[in-house]
Structure formats: structure tokens, C-alpha cells
């Protein structure tokens, strides 16, 4: 399968390439953050269903089935997703580019050349502040979505954004 279409490019280069994992992991506490965020979401969904079951004297059988399925899905999601994400989410910078990998079932690699960076933002949500985490967002001139590095250790995030900001300032032009 892997070799079936190597004639596609028509070039001489017949090596099979793939993306390697970026070098750096995010903070270990990210697992906790993803778990808590997922839990909060599920508490709202399951809580609503629970109230419906308790208040209703004669809950329909469908509602009970839905509730049981939801609990199972919630458990799997809360237990699996954060660990899977932790294995996938990675980042790396070099003098030319910022490179990230994110997602879990579906994965996404994003690459932004340092010369095209417009802004570098550091955002800390309430949960992230508790856990001393931060998300670094690198925007370019495109509307197609910035490069985000979620749940870095706060000190790492500060260092990274300083580093990127200073390199960006040194680059002339309007980066479009």
C-alpha cells in the first residue's frame, strides 16, 4: 500500500517520508486539566439527565438507556482522552518555524514560519491558573486558525512567548 503510488510525484525521490513527532511534550499536569475540563462538561450533560430521571415519576425506558450509554461514553472519554492527548500533543521550535502536533483520534500538525508570525499570546483559563498551566497562541496573517500550544507549564510558556516575540520583532515586513 505504501509504495503503490510513489510514481505520483514523477520525481526521482522515491524515499517514503512521514512527519516525525515534535521534540517537546506538554506539561504532565495537562492530563489533569483535560480530565477536569471533560468532567465538567459531562457533569452538565449527565446532571441534566439525572434530574430528568429523578423528577419524572415514570421515566420512559429510552431515557434510562440513553443515561446508561452516556455514563459509559463519559467514563471512556474522561479516562482515555487525556492520556491519548498527552501522547499526541507535542511542540517544537527552531529558528525558522514553530511546529505542533495536537488532537487524539484525529491528529493535526501545524507549522508556522517564524518570519510570518504576527502575534504571540499567552492565555490562562481559571483551571489553567490553578494548575499553573498556560496556552501559547501564535497567530499569522491568515484567518485559517492560529498555531496553538495548549497546557504548557506556565514558566515554559512565558519563556517561549518571550523568545518568539523577540525573534518576530527582528523580522522586517508585514508578514503577509
Amino acid at each position: 500500500m505504501a509504495h503503490a503510488d510513489s510514481r505520483q510525484t514523477g520525481g526521482v525521490d522515491n524515499t517514503e517520508w512521514r512527519l516525525r513527532a515534535p521534540a517537546n511534550l506538554v506539561s504532565k499536569r495537562a492530563i489533569l486539566h483535560w480530565t477536569l475540563s471533560a468532567l465538567i462538561g459531562w457533569v452538565i450533560v449527565l446532571g441534566g439527565q439525572g434530574i430528568h430521571l429523578l423528577v419524572n415519576d415514570d421515566p420512559p425506558a429510552v431515557a434510562q438507556t440513553v443515561a446508561i450509554v452516556s455514563v459509559v461514553v463519559a467514563l471512556v472519554h474522561v479516562l482515555v482522552m487525556p492520556r491519548w492527548r498527552y501522547a499526541v500533543h507535542r511542540w517544537e521550535t527552531n529558528p525558522d518555524a514553530v511546529f505542533t502536533r495536537s488532537g487524539w483520534i484525529n491528529q493535526e500538525w501545524r507549522l508556522a514560519p517564524v518570519s510570518r508570525i504576527q502575534t504571540v499570546d499567552t492565555v490562562r483559563g481559571p483551571l489553567q491558573q490553578l494548575l499553573k498551566l498556560a496556552t501559547v497562541t501564535v497567530t499569522t496573517a491568515s484567518a485559517a486558525g492560529p498555531v496553538k500550544i495548549e497546557n504548557l507549564d506556565a514558566s515554559v510558556a512565558a519563556r517561549l512567548s518571550d523568545e518568539l516575540a523577540s525573534t518576530t520583532q527582528a523580522t522586517p515586513g508585514d508578514a503577509t
Binding site: A4, T15, E92, Q107, W109, L111, A144, G145
Partner: protein, 505 residues
């Protein structure tokens, strides 16, 4: 058809604050009124002459006139050496300033009301992505001559030295051919208009509690529909809709594209002029033109037609201002693309995508259809729904199979010396040629299924147009090679050869 008058000599504008043309006090309410004419008429006279209808109608007109007056009073603009400043708003005051060297596009739009008084609105686009609802800096409106002068002042810095640019210095790239009208019915715009008008009319009638069933004509139509066999009604209705939609689409084509001209100007811009009642003139700085997009919706494709839009920064996406060529013969579209870009990427030989992509396209085309059919079947079996919906949904399956196959057939990409070309879609096939130097990053996505099939989707990120253009379902290794070749040395540090990967036959 009014021509834009010959350009007066370009003089640097003074730093005095200027006002919009005083005639806007009348024109603005007039333009708003024209849009509201039919609803207002129905509101005021359709009922039994209730007093509140007359009062509501009068109040609307009065409010519009006051709005026109206030917006004229509160708006002023000036142009300095470095920036364009606009102050507007009475209660919610806005002060906008954009640096002149960031101006990428100038869009002159004259609606019918403007045209009556020889005015034109000037919209200035910068490199930023206009994602917010504000349109940036719009001078609505100044005299047509002033508008033309502003256009030249704004875009002049690209020209050599201080030469005065006259209209005659432009070279024509393309202009409307009467025969292009045959592509108008293939654009579905007529059908869309009928749908919108029907929906709007019914909504309005319900709001105003108009009793259509009391009108003799409509009652007799209903009577006929109910008392004739469906075999006779359906062809008649379909024929009627067809004829009306063809007429409407011709009308829309006439209104939008009358006297279409595409020119290259010596001030380094490409300029599109078109329109019958509302005239538009859009100038795009050539240096900021990042590519073109060739649209071939299914019907238009069947008629060997195509539409061309510009991929550029500084144009609003919704307003259709990026149009370079209205529906026209495909050959003409390729020719215009070549003339505008001075390269010929749209007719490049495209590389097909691997067979695994076909299964994915088929699955994605069929699965919603299957899901709908199954759901409708279950509803028919258990919830006493009628049986015909699931039968219809099942009968549509072959159509979605064909669409899936066509989507696969249309997938393709190519890399020319200056452009990255990507094609996808079936109902709206789009071939995008994006300048390689305009690519400012990559997003590479792989879903679970793509990972198992050895595919990925590569999105070239750019500041222009939609912001990102995707090469869908390309072979993993070839997709990465493509990205790596498009901007050399950017992606390479993050690639590894996968020779150590177990080699399955």
C-alpha cells in the same frame, strides 16, 4: 450606461477634513427605500387601509430620512501622507485610520440611488482578514470623479514615480461577450431567487395575516392543483419553475455583469468593472494577488463554463467583490487566469490522488444518505411516519455514489514553478492556484481513517482569500513531499524517512 469620467490630474489631497457629498442625505434613504419598496407597499396598502399600517409605513420612511441626515452630519474623512482617517457615527462614534501603504484593494460601488446623482461609494481593503462585521473604511459616498481620484491616489504608490495615470493606459484583458449569457441559466441563481422570493413572500403574508385564499386568482389556482391528477400538475409546475428560473438568472446576469470589463492598469492593478444598475469597480494590487480560483459548479461544468475569482487580501469574502470573470466559457477562464497571473497554473496537468481516497470520498458521500434512509425507515416502522420519505432517500443512493466517484475523479494537485494547484469538489468543483510565495504555513490533518489508509490532507495557509487551501486525501509521503517542495527547507527538519517502518508487501 454612465462611464466613469476621465480622471482629473492626481493631486495629493489636502489635510483638511472632507465631508461626504451632501447629496447622500437624499441618496442613502433612497437606497434603503428601494430595498424596502415592495414590503412597504404591501404593509401600507394591502390591508384594509388600517391607520396603523399607514403610520408604520410613514414612520419607516421618516426614520430613514433622519438616518441619512445624521449619518451625513457625523461622517468626515481625510487623507494624509500616511493614512486614511474616517470618523463616523453619532451615538456610537467610530474613528478609523488605516495606513495608506497597507491598502491592497479599492472597491467603487454605485447603487442605483448613487447613480442617479453621479455618486460612488469607496471601500478600501487592507491586508488584514476582514473576519469582523465591520467593513473597514467605506466612504459612502463621494462624487464619481472624486471616487476615481481617490482610487488612483490610494493605489498610486505602486506606479513608477509621479506619472499621472489616465484611463487610456489600461490594457484590456477580457470583456463581456453576449454569448456568455447562455451560461447564466446554468448558475442556479434563478432557482435560488425563486426559493428566496417564495419563502420571503409566504413569511410576509403570514406576518401581515393576508388571506391569500380569499383572492379569486389564487383560489382558482389552488382549486386546479387539488382537482387535477399529480401526473399533470408536476410537469406544469416544473416547466413553470424552469422558465421563470431561466428568466431570473438571465436578469441576474444582466444586472451583475452588464458591461463587464477586466483591465490591467499601469498603476500595477487589475481592475474589474461591471453592473447594470449597481455598478462596481474593483481594483486589486497585482503584487498582492496571491492566485486565482476557478469555480465550476456541476451544471456550469456540464456546459463547459467556469467562473474565476481572485485569491487576494483586502477583499470581503461575502460580497462577491473578488470576481474576476463571470460565468463564461472555460477556455476564456483559463485565458484570463493566464493573463492575470502571467503564468498558466490552472490548466496544469494535475496529479490524481491514490485509490484509497476514492473509498473515503464514496464513504463520505454515501454515509449521510444511508443514515437518513435508515432513520426514515425506522420512523416509518415505529413512529407511523409515511413510507415515501425513506423510499425517496433510498432511490437517491445511486446519485450519492456518482457524486462520490466524481469527487474522487476531481481530486488533484500540481506544483508549477510559481503556483500550488489544488482541485476538489463535485457539486462546486474548485481549482485553486495559490502563489507559493504567498504560503505562510501548513496545517496537516490526519483522521483515524486517513491514518489507516495512508492518506492525509495538507492545507496551505495564506493571508489571502479563504485563509487556507487544502489538498484533500493525498498519499502521506507525496503530500509531505509536495509541502516540502512548495517552500523548500521549511518542513524538511520535521520529516523522517520511514524506511524503518515494517514493509507490508
Amino acid at each position: 450606461m454612465t462611464e466613469f469620467p476621465a480622471a482629473p490630474p492626481v493631486v495629493e489631497p489636502s489635510h483638511e477634513w472632507g465631508r461626504l457629498d451632501p447629496r447622500m442625505i437624499i441618496v442613502r434613504p433612497l437606497n434603503e427605500l428601494m430595498g424596502l419598496l415592495i414590503p412597504l407597499f404591501i404593509l401600507m396598502f394591502a390591508g384594509n387601509g388600517d391607520t396603523w399600517r399607514i403610520v408604520a409605513g410613514g414612520a419607516t420612511v421618516g426614520a430613514l430620512v433622519l438616518y441619512g441626515l445624521f449619518s451625513w452630519v457625523s461622517t468626515k474623512y481625510r487623507i494624509t501622507e500616511t493614512q486614511v482617517e474616517l470618523h463616523k457615527g453619532l451615538l456610537h462614534r467610530q474613528r478609523l485610520a488605516i495606513p495608506r501603504d497597507r491598502i491592497r484593494t479599492v472597491d467603487l460601488t454605485a447603487k442605483l440611488g448613487h447613480r442617479l446623482f453621479g455618486l460612488s461609494a469607496v471601500r478600501v481593503g487592507t491586508g488584514e482578514q476582514s473576519r469582523s462585521s465591520t467593513d473597514g473604511v467605506v466612504l459612502d459616498a463621494v462624487t464619481a470623479a472624486e471616487a476615481d481620484r481617490l482610487r488612483q491616489v490610494f493605489l498610486r504608490r505602486a506606479a513608477t514615480a509621479e506619472t499621472v495615470v489616465g484611463e487610456d493606459d489600461s490594457t484590456s484583458i477580457s470583456q463581456l461577450d453576449k454569448r456568455w449569457y447562455r451560461y447564466a441559466p446554468l448558475t442556479m441563481s434563478g432557482l435560488l431567487t425563486i426559493g428566496l422570493a417564495a419563502g420571503f413572500g409566504m413569511n410576509l403574508a403570514r406576518e401581515l395575516k393576508l388571506e391569500f385564499s380569499e383572492t379569486g386568482l389564487i383560489r382558482s389556482v389552488f382549486h386546479w392543483v387539488l382537482n387535477t391528477s399529480p401526473l399533470a400538475v408536476i410537469p406544469v409546475v416544473a416547466g413553470l419553475v424552469l422558465v421563470v428560473s431561466v428568466l431570473l438568472s438571465l436578469l441576474a446576469y444582466l444586472l451583475q455583469n452588464h458591461d463587464f470589463r477586466l483591465t490591467r492598469n499601469t498603476d500595477g492593478t487589475v481592475r474589474v468593472r461591471r453592473g447594470l444598475l449597481t455598478t462596481r469597480s474593483v481594483s486589486v494590487e497585482e503584487q498582492r494577488l496571491r492566485g486565482v480560483s476557478l469555480h465550476e459548479p456541476l451544471l456550469l461544468r456540464a456546459g463547459r463554463g467556469a467562473r474565476l475569482t481572485a485569491v487576494t487580501t483586502g477583499l470581503g469574502r461575502a460580497s462577491g467583490s473578488s470576481l474576476l470573470l463571470p460565468p463564461a466559457p472555460r477556455g476564456e477562464a483559463h485565458r484570463v487566469a493566464e493573463q492575470v497571473l502571467l503564468a498558466d497554473p490552472t490548466s496544469a496537468q494535475l496529479t490524481r490522488h491514490p485509490a484509497a481516497a476514492r473509498s473515503r470520498r464514496l464513504f463520505r458521500a454515501i454515509s449521510p444518505n444511508v443514515a437518513a434512509a435508515v432513520t426514515l425507515l425506522l420512523l416509518a416502522a415505529f413512529a407511523e411516519w409515511p413510507h415515501w420519505p425513506w423510499i425517496v432517500a433510498t432511490c437517491l443512493l445511486p446519485v450519492s455514489v456518482l457524486i462520490g466517484l466524481d469527487r474522487y475523479r476531481n481530486l488533484g494537485h500540481a506544483l508549477t514553478d510559481r503556483y500550488l494547484v489544488s482541485r476538489s469538489g463535485s457539486l462546486d468543483r474548485e481549482t485553486v492556484a495559490l502563489q507559493r510565495t504567498g504560503i505562510i504555513g501548513w496545517n496537516i490533518r490526519q483522521t483515524l481513517f486517513q491514518r489507516r489508509a495512508g492518506l492525509l490532507s495538507v492545507t496551505a495557509i495564506t493571508a489571502a482569500g479563504k485563509g487556507g487551501y487544502t489538498v484533500v486525501d493525498v498519499d502521506e509521503s507525496n503530500g509531505l513531499k509536495l509541502a516540502d517542495a512548495a517552500i523548500p527547507d521549511l518542513l524538511r527538519p520535521f520529516l523522517q524517512s520511514s524506511q524503518e517502518r515494517p514493509d507490508g508487501s
